[in-house]
Structure formats: structure tokens, C-alpha cells
């Protein structure tokens, strides 16, 4: 703590901050451009000038850049000083001499940091009479638009892209007046976090292309606090809706999870919500061969209820991409004995093992912010950038943090980025990765061990043994592996906070056990370490805590005709199980009820199809990979623009269906009812009630506004349908209102912030007004509640060591390779995502490719029990022999561990429909 004097007033601040950060944390406004809470200061823009005085008697002082000046005790500065003001005004003026007259046609307009700062400094007349320099733009892919004229050379983009995110294809070119920020030539920005440029860049140089395609100003969007459904990290997002469509997704600051950044899958993968082929009204047919007829709610529920009543036994199949509430309500409908999680048996076994390990390994699960504080990391069997991208970004920061440690030894403050970097050079915290193919974190890793799953597990066991000899040893390790195990163990032991990361990507419980053993070994050494286990889908963790039968069990029950009706919730069975198997099971079913927000192959077969809400139209709770229950809230009501649509949350449908089934009078149910019901039914999930405030939460007696107070077009957006405006829709489930009426300020601390705005702060930088200190936590507390607590005590090591991987002469072991773009069921239905995703392919080692006589790009037929696909080959030099890597997200029941036959398919291009595209979903 330090005391600083600003304009004659004394304040207590964090002495480790710079003055800019300290003042912003105090709520004082100083304009700035190049400083960013996550990237520190470089002093490039000169916008943050203030006058600093030596001591009380100094009345001259001098101008300093507040971002480059420590907030040391007894610092005296003046923000309001005339000369400082004039200086700042002139800085904006010269930043603007080349700025185009673009605001009306600029996607940044209305949430532009440059606009905000220009207004803040008071510059409003152009005096410069000479000509503006101009630049040509580049094509940067389907996600990001480029308009280089608008650049003010703050260097934030390259600092983020190259340093923070580790991208290599964006740079600063030219010198002096020529400076250009872009790629060496047109092309897709490769980095998986490129989307953050749209928020990092304080101007309209980098903007969201997917948003531009259906552009709406920030003030016109309707927001709600939401949770990204695209992977298990559970980043907080702020989706914006207009005219019944999600228009863009922006980061919603969470001090523990995502901080300032999202990955591109989360940011640009929302397009599936807007697909025109989504089911929007219930459809019914009594015979599978009939055409479905669209029905109204009551009729549909009536048919559904009587069909289910006629059934002998009803199976319910849930989904790890549906909320806890929806799964719970399904379980209530069919009974716990008849409930399947909709997850395949091996995956479910893995999930259960992960839950157990998280609770009994003796090490806590860190949050993402906490990950960045670990100083040695071992990743077993995960390509984090592909499977849990945002976590990968945090791991990268953890390795880079060594520079901070080194710098602080010299007394260099961590925010002094350039000095920290120059001093630290390539000295990073150790990161070890064991994964068959190259990963995005390799550049910051000490070493990546390209191993088959079993060998990864064996390496892990060996590391555990090297840390704690009490852990089971691995015999017959080759010397390389033994050496590797020793090195890794050494690094982990030396670290003050070692972190083990593993997960479900390779579908191997042995790998998980190995990770668990290392964690236990570390825990016995009383290390302040952590264990992080990556789950495949948004709510996999939650569903594992809830429990239920596997998908195979459900299909067997149906095939064996011990049940004749099935209710499937937000799950495309064809995506998770082989087509024949699903066909067989569904052929025996008398009544198939499917609730989904996408037109899936399963839904296409339904007798009763009910349109359920995606994350944008519904409320619910997810549990992320660290066991944090987080609530997502409905962004908009589809009925406002499309009164004919009948979309409801699955839990609401299931409640009504239950009433119809049991001939109970129809009654409504609210989110709070279901959440409480779910918490009571599952002791492990008791904490989810605390994840967010209930529907009667109010601030100053007000609901929270979903729309900014400048929201326009209220009396006209719907006037083409009917000129009389309907009453704004009411929301019984949440404390938010579907209008601009309600609280939207930053004065009262709150957890749930639909959108960040403060007077004078329209850009995402407004989040600084909601945090306790800039880059810290939300003043109302970071949202969410942790479930899955550690069980204290010592737990035994796992002992069942797998055999070393033996490559087989004519069969290959299948490894599913997580894919960020195109690798999950929902976001891969979004158009820009399909454009960005690389075609699915098969990865082989050089030797195997030679053996098969194929080379890069040639098609190979892959055959297993589940069927055949033909995919082009990708030859990876480091890839272990005997493994076949298949791009994730191709569906059809392809899974880790299959032994497949490979046949070169020559040049015949008779691929099965859809294979090789991002996702064959409507085949």
C-alpha cells in the first residue's frame, strides 16, 4: 500500500501499480491508449501525461507518463494541471491528424476507445491542413476485418498477438510515418486468439468481421451475462442481440476465469444460434414415415403426453451441452433409473475418473488466473490450444511469468513490459508437454514428448515415481523416457507451485491416473500445486456430478426393446454413436421425443420435435472444468421479433411435458424452481444455487437492464408487423428486464453485468469501472460458485500401469485430435467457423505414410467397426508410428482407441457425404 496525492487529495493505492493503473482503479479518469491491464505499459502513445511534483514544496513539477511512473509512496501528481491537459489534448490532436473521417462507417464507432479518449481530452476541431497518410488493407480471414487508416500506432495489437498470445504472423512493418500493422501478405490470421484484437485495438483497425456482416452498434444491442458453451473452460461472455439474432459476442470480464480475453471459437462461433433451419415450432408425426406437422404448444404437449403415457418405459437421454437444469428436469421426467447422460461409456468413465481425481488427488483445481501463478507445468495428453484454448493462453502466461520473477529481483516493476522482456529474454518457467502432435504451446515448452497415449501415461507414472518413490514405478522404461521423467520430476519438485494438466482428449483413463499420481505425489510433498483436468464439453463436469447411465446403455435398452419411448435433450445421437447403432435403436422406438435448438439428424427422426432454447434464448447453469457453477442468462426473447416462434428452455418443455404425461394441470415453472430442485436432488450440486442471484434480486429496487439506456428503435423495430407496440416481455426467471429500464450503472457493485458501460467509457475498457482494481476482480465478486470441493486426507496411488504402446503391422490406433475450429458440435454449424476450420484430415507419421504409399494431401480410407471415412493425409514428422490421428468433431461415433485399417484411396474422390467438411451433420 502506498499513499499518493492526486490534485491535492491523498489516496491509498497499491504501490506495485503504475500511476495510471492506480488512478484508474481509484475511479479517476486519465486518458490512455497503449497501456493495457493485461499487457502493461510501454509508454508509446504519450496520452497519459500528468504533472508530477517532487514534494510538497515543488510547484513546478514536470510532465510524466503516468503509465511509466510507479505509484510509489508520497507521489504527488496533478491530472487537472493546465499544461498536462493541454499536452494530452495536443497528443490526441496529432494522433488524429491522419485519422480518416470514418466514424459513421466504422464498426468501432459507439464502442471506440479513441472516440472516448478524444471526447475526454476535449479535441473537437481539426486544425491540421495537410494531407492524411493512407494505407491499403489486408484480408485477414473470416473473423477479422482490417482498416489500417484508423491506426494510431499504439502497438497494442502486436504486443498482444506476438507476446501475449504467441502468434507469429502479425507484425509492425515500416518506419516513422509508414508504420503498418498487418501480415506480410493477405491471409488468415493464424492465432487462435486473434479475435481479441478487436477489443485490444483501441480503434477500428481490427474489427469483428462476423459482426460487421450484420452490424449493430453497441448501444442498440440487447445483452445478458452469459457463459460460453463452446468448451469446458466456461468463459464469461456478453452476447449482443438485435432483431432476434445474436450479432456478436464480446468478452465479459471475469477476474478468475477469462479475464480480458476469449478464444476465437467462443467469440466467433455463435452463428448456429442464427441458423435459419433451426426448429422454431413444435412438430409432430405419429408415424416415422409421415411428414411432421407443426403444432401449437398445447397440441404438441397433448400429443407428446399421450404418446408417452402409452409407452411401457421411457428412457431419457441428456446431454453435456445442455444445462444442469435441463438434464435434471429430464431425469425428473423419466426417473433416475432411466436417465442416460448421453455420453459414450468410455468418455463417461473418463469424466467420472476426473471428478474423483479432482476431489481426491490432494491438489486443488486452480482458476485460470491462478494457473498463471504456477511456475512449472506438465501437460499430459492435451493440446490445450485446441481443446481448452483459453486455458492454453493462461498456461502460456504462466511460463512467461518467469520474466516477472526475474525482473522483480532487479526491482523492475512487472508492468514495465519492455524492461521485463529485455531482461527476461527466453528464460521461461518450465512447461513440459506429452502429446503426439505439435501443439500451440510448443514454442514456450521446454520439451514436447510425442508419445502414444499409453506411453504418455507411463511417462506420467514414472514422473510420479520420481517425485515420490512410494508411487508405483514403471518398469522397462527406455532410457530416453526415464531421463525425461527425471527432468520433469526435477522441475516440478523445484517449483514452488507445480501444475499438472491433463484431460479427456486422448480418451485414456491411464493418462488421467498418471496425472493423478503426479498430483498425489506432489501433494504428499505439501507442494502448493494444482491439478487441472480438461473436459470435452461445456457441461461435462456438471453432468458427471449429476450422474446417469451411458449412451450405450440407453441404446442397448432401446434395441433390446425393454423401453419403447425415448426423450432426447439437446443431443445428436448420430454425433456420438455409430450411425447403424443409433438407427437400430431408434427403429425399435415407438415414440421419439427430441428437444433441440439445432436441426440435427436425431431431431429429423423425431415423432415429437420440440424447439428448445440455445444459450441465447434460455437460462441455465453449467459447471466448468474447475468445478465452477456458472449461470447463463437469456439474452433475448425470440417471440418479440418472431411472435410465431415457440422456443423455450428444455427444462420448461420437460416440465410441461411431465404435466401432460401425468395429467397434472399445466403450470409454469421458473428457473429458480428448477435450479433449487436440481440442487436438492443432487447433493454434489447443492452449490449451484449460489452461482447467481435469483429472479427477485434488485438493485435500488430495480431490475437490471439488458439494454443500454441509448437503445434505439424501440417504437419502430417491430412496427412493420404491427404499429402498436406490445408490452415489453416480462422475465419471470431472472433479475433482468427486456428493456433499457433497470439498473445499468457501475456505482453499485454487482456480479452480473450484461454489458459494460460507464459515462464517457463506451469501449470494453469500461470494465475498469466495474473492477475493484483494474485487472482485478469485479467489485460485486466474480460470478459463479465452486462445487466439487477437495476431500481432505491421503489417497492411494493408482496402480494399474498400462503396457507400452506397440505399433501393429496393419492396424493403427486411432487418436482423436481436438480441433478448436470445427471440432465441436455447435459452433461448427456457424458459417464463419466453417470457413475458418481446416478440412478434417488424417495424421500419420512419415514412416507410416511411406509404408502406405501416400503423401501429404492424398486421400486414405479409414475403416473401423463404426464405418468408413476417406480423408486426406497430413504427414507429421514427429508423429509416433502406429498411431492414426483423426480430426476431432467429425462425429459418427469415431473415438479414441479404435484400431483402424487404412487403405490408400488413390485419387478416387468418392468420399462419403460430408466427410472432410467441417462437420457432416445433415448427411
Amino acid at each position: 500500500m502506498a499513499t499518493i496525492h492526486v490534485d491535492g487529495k491523498a489516496y491509498e493505492v497499491n504501490g506495485a501499480d503504475n500511476l495510471l493503473q492506480a488512478c484508474l482503479s481509484l475511479g479517476l479518469d486519465i486518458p490512455y491508449f497503449c497501456w493495457h491491464p493485461a499487457m502493461g505499459s510501454v509508454g508509446a502513445c504519450r496520452q497519459c501525461a500528468v504533472r508530477q511534483y517532487k514534494d510538497e514544496d515543488d510547484d513546478k513539477g514536470m510532465l510524466v507518463m503516468s503509465c511509466m511512473t510507479p505509484a510509489a509512496d508520497r507521489t504527488r501528481i496533478s491530472i487537472e494541471d493546465d499544461e498536462a491537459r493541454e499536452f494530452r489534448a495536443s497528443v490526441v490532436e496529432w494522433l488524429m491528424i491522419n485519422h480518416p473521417h470514418d466514424c459513421p462507417v466504422c464498426e468501432e464507432g459507439g464502442h471506440c476507445h479513441l472516440q472516448d479518449m478524444t471526447v475526454m481530452t476535449g479535441h473537437d476541431r481539426r486544425r491540421y491542413r495537410f494531407r492524411k497518410r493512407t494505407h491499403r488493407n489486408q484480408y485477414l480471414g473470416p473473423f477479422i476485418a482490417h482498416e489500417m487508416n484508423r491506426c494510431i500506432t499504439c502497438y497494442r495489437c502486436v504486443r498482444f498477438y506476438n507476446e501475449y498470445a504467441g502468434g507469429e504472423d502479425l507484425g509492425a512493418f515500416g518506419a516513422n510515418d509508414n508504420i503498418y500493422f498487418g501480415r506480410h501478405q493477405d491471409g488468415v490470421l493464424e492465432n487462435e486468439f486473434a479475435g481479441n484484437l478487436t477489443e485490444v485495438c483501441p480503434t477500428g483497425v481490427f474489427t469483428d468481421q462476423t459482426h460487421s456482416d450484420h452490424y449493430t452498434r453497441k448501444w442498440d444491442l440487447q445483452f445478458a451475462p452469459s457463459i460460453c458453451h463452446q468448451c469446458s473452460v466456461g468463459c464469461n461472455i456478453s452476447p449482443g442481440e438485435r432483431y432476434g439474432e445474436i450479432r456478436r459476442i464480446e468478452n465479459r470480464y471475469h477476474g478468475e476465469v477469462n479475464g480480458h480475453f476469449l478464444c476465437d471459437r467462443g467469440r466467433f462461433g455463435y452463428g448456429y444460434v442464427n441458423r435459419t433451419d433451426r426448429p422454431r415450432v413444435p412438430a409432430w408425426r405419429s408415424q416415422s414415415k409421415d411428414d411432421p406437422v407443426e403444432l401449437d404448444v398445447d397440441a404438441a404437449l397433448g400429443h407428446g403426453g399421450s404418446a408417452l403415457r402409452a409407452a411401457r418405459r421411457i428412457i431419457g437421454i441428456g446431454s453435456p451441452r445442455a444445462s444442469l437444469e435441463s438434464n435434471h428436469q429430464l431425469r425428473e421426467l423419466v426417473g433416475a433409473d432411466n436417465f442416460s447422460t448421453g455420453i459414450s461409456a468410455p468418455e463417461q468413465a473418463g469424466l467420472e475418473r476426473m471428478t474423483e481425481l479432482n476431489r481426491t488427488c490432494g491438489l486443488p483445481t486452480p482458476s485460470l488466473r491462478d494457473v498463471e501463478a504456477h511456475d512449472a507445468i506438465f501437460v499430459l495428453g492435451e493440446d490445450l490450444i485446441q481443446s481448452a484454448a483459453r486455458l492454453g493462453l493462461s498456461v502460456r502466461q504462466a511460463t512467461l511469468a518467469r520474466r516477472h520473477d526475474l525482473a522483480s529481483k532487479l526491482g523492475i516493476p512487472t508492468w514495465n513490459t519492455d524492461a521485463v522482456k529485455t531482461h527476461g529474454q527466453d528464460r521461461l518457467h518450465p512447461l513440459f508437454i506429452a502429446y503426439p502432435s505439435a501443439t500451440g504451446l510448443d514454442p514456450v515448452a521446454v520439451r514436447r514428448h510425442a508419445l502414444a497415449p499409453n506411453d504418455i501415461a507411463r511417462l506420467g507414472f514414472a514422473v510420479a515415481h520420481a517425485i515420490d518413490p512410494a508411487a508405483p514405478a514403471v518398469d522397462d522404461l527406455d532410457s530416453d523416457m526415464a531421463e525425461a521423467a527425471r527432468t520433469i520430476a526435477q522441475a516440478l519438485k523445484a517449483a514452488s507451485r507445480p501444475l499438472i494438466i491433463s484431460g479427456a482428449s486422448l480418451g485414456s483413463t491411464s493418462v488421467l491416473d498418471a496425472a493423478g499420481n503426479i498430483a498425489r505425489a506432489l501433494a504428499r510433498r505439501a507442494a502448493r500445486g494444482g491439478l487441472m483436468l480438461v473436459r470435452p464439453e461445456a457441461n461435462s463436469t456438471g453432468l458427471a456430478l449429476m450422474g446417469g447411465h451411458s449412451l450405450e446403455w440407453a441404446l442397448d435398452e432401446l434395441t433390446g426393446q425393454s423401453a419403447d419411448a425415448v426423450v432426447v435433450v439437446e443431443n445428436d445421437l448420430y454425433d456420438r454413436a455409430p450411425r447403424d447403432r443409433v438407427d437400430q435403436a431408434l427403429a425399435k422406438v415407438q415414440t421419439l421425443v427430441v428437444l433441440d435448438h439445432q436441426y440435427t439428424r436425431t431431431l429429423a427422426r423425431a415423432h415429437l420435435a420440440l424447439p428448445s432454447a440455445s444459450f441465447a434464448e434460455g437460462d441455465g447453469t453449467l459447471v466448468n472444468l474447475e468445478g465452477r457453477a456458472q449461470r447463463f442468462f437469456q439474452v433475448y426473447d425470440p417471440r418479440y421479433i418472431r411472435p410465431q416462434s415457440r422456443i423455450h428452455e428444455s427444462w420448461r418443455w420437460l416440465h410441461a411435458l411431465g404435466a401432460s404425461l401425468h395429467r397434472r394441470p399445466a403450470s409454469d415453472i421458473t428457473l429458480d424452481d428448477v435450479t433449487h430442485g436440481c440442487a436438492e436432488a443432487h447433493p454434489m450440486l447443492a452449490g449451484i444455487v449460489e452461482a447467481a442471484p435469483g429472479a427477485n434480486f434488485r438493485i435500488e429496487g430495480l431490475r437490471l437492464a439488458r439494454e443500454p439506456h441509448r437503445y434505439s428503435g424501440r417504437t419502430s423495430m417491430r412496427a412493420d408487423q404491427a404499429v402498436a407496440e406490445p408490452r415489453p416481455l416480462q422475465d419471470p426467471d431472472t433479475p433482468f428486464s427486456f428493456s433499457m429500464e433497470g439498473y445499468s450503472g457501475h456505482g453499485r457493485p454487482r456480479q452480473q453485468v450484461p454489458f459494460a458501460w460507464a459515462p464517457g467509457w463506451n469501449s470494453p475498457q469500461a470494465w475498469n469501472k466495474f473492477t475493484d482494481e483494474v485487472g482485478g476482480h469485479l467489485r460485486g465478486g466474480d460470478p459463479g460458485a465452486k462445487v466439487m470441493p477437495l476431500i481432505p486426507g491421503h489417497h492411494d496411488y493408482a496402480g494399474n500401469l498400462p503396457d507400452a504402446f506397440q505399433r501393429q503391422p496393419d492396424r493403427w490406433q486411432l487418436v482423436m485430435m481436438a480441433r478448436l475450429f470445427g471440432g465441436d458440435e455447435t459452433s461448427s454449424r456457424a458459417e464463419p467457423m466453417q470457413e475458418r476450420a481446416e478440412p478434417a484430415h488424417l495424421t500419420l507419421s512419415e514412416r507410416d505414410a511411406e509404408r502406405l504409399g501416400v503423401s501429404e494431401g492424398l486421400p486414405v480410407g479409414i475403416t473401423a467397426d463404426v464405418g468408413e471415412v476417406v480423408l486426406p493425409v497430413h504427414v507429421d514428422p514427429g508423429w509416433p508410428d502406429g498411431l492414426a490421428g483423426l480430426s476431432g468433431g467429425i462425429g459418427g461415433g469415431w473415438a479414441n482407441g479404435f484400431m483402424v485399417e487404412l487403405v490408400p484411396a488413390g485419387n478416387r474422390h468418392n468420399r462419403p457425404a460430408g466427410a472432410g467438411e467441417a462437420r457432416p451433420w445433415n448427411g
Partner: protein
Amino acid sequence: MLKWLITGTWSQLRTMGLVFMHSFRKRETVNYPDEEVYLPPRYRGRIILTRDPDGEERCVACNLCAVACPVDCISLQKGEQEDGRWYPEFFRINFSRCIYCGMCEEACPTSAIQLTPDFEMSEYRRQELVYEKEDLLINGPGKDHDYHFYKVAGMAIGGKDKGRAQNEQEPKDVKTLLP
């Protein structure tokens, strides 16, 4: 007190006298619709969308009019032509809500939206007062004859490359080594 009473009474009587003298004044109102009304060109009536001097739609769908409108009766959606030009995919004004305050015209950075001296817009059905772009867009530049937004803005559109707007240099060649 007495003075107050007397001056007060006098003032009232004088007022009445003055008002009475209005019996001999010309009438300020006209017998509309028998007689036509003169409306000055800056009268704020029916709203139009204009075109730039080249005959292209002026509106760039920036949404500033919509946000300026105190009764929120404008809504529109941005679209983009092949050549990069922004335009409104739809543009709707609900005249049953409009108060003809002219804030939209004030806010418009392109002179696209203008109020005209026409107020004869009554309808028997309110729904008819919802005007779409076809009803609003005219074939001329309206009151502002010269302004051409894209000639000033830095964005490249068909027929106007980078560096061709007012006060612009040729685009920089980043690959040159010369200063």
C-alpha cells in the same frame, strides 16, 4: 394599497382594451385546406432520405439518427454493397411516433435524412404511418446539394480508391526501404 389598486385596475382595463382592439386586426390563421399554407423550406415535416450528387444512396446506415431520435422511432439495418459501401438494408420510420423534432437530421453525418415542408400525412389506419425505405428515399440531394460523404471518408469504395478522398496522400508502400 390604493395606488396598487388603481394601477392594477388600470392595467387590467388596458389589457382588455388592447385585446378588444384586436377585433380590427388581420387574422393570423388561414382557412386551411381552402387556402394553402406557406411553409418555409426549413419547416420540419415529412422525413426523406436523399441521394448524393452522384445519385447513390446517401445513408450509410450509421445509426446516429436512430440513437438521436428521442422517441426511438427510427430503425434500420446496416448492409454492405459489393464495393464496400455501407447502406441501410431496411430503413423504417414510424411516423405515428415521430414528433418532427429534427434531431435525426441534426445527427446525420451524411445529410441523408432531411425533414421537408410537408405535413399532410394523415391516415385512417395507423399502420400506414410506418414508412419503409421505398417510401422515404427520393431521387435527389434534398436541401444539401453538394455533400458527398465518401469523398471525405477514408474507406475505399468502388470508384474511390484509398488515397483518393479529400486531403489524402497516396497509400503508403510498406515494403519500400525509402523513408
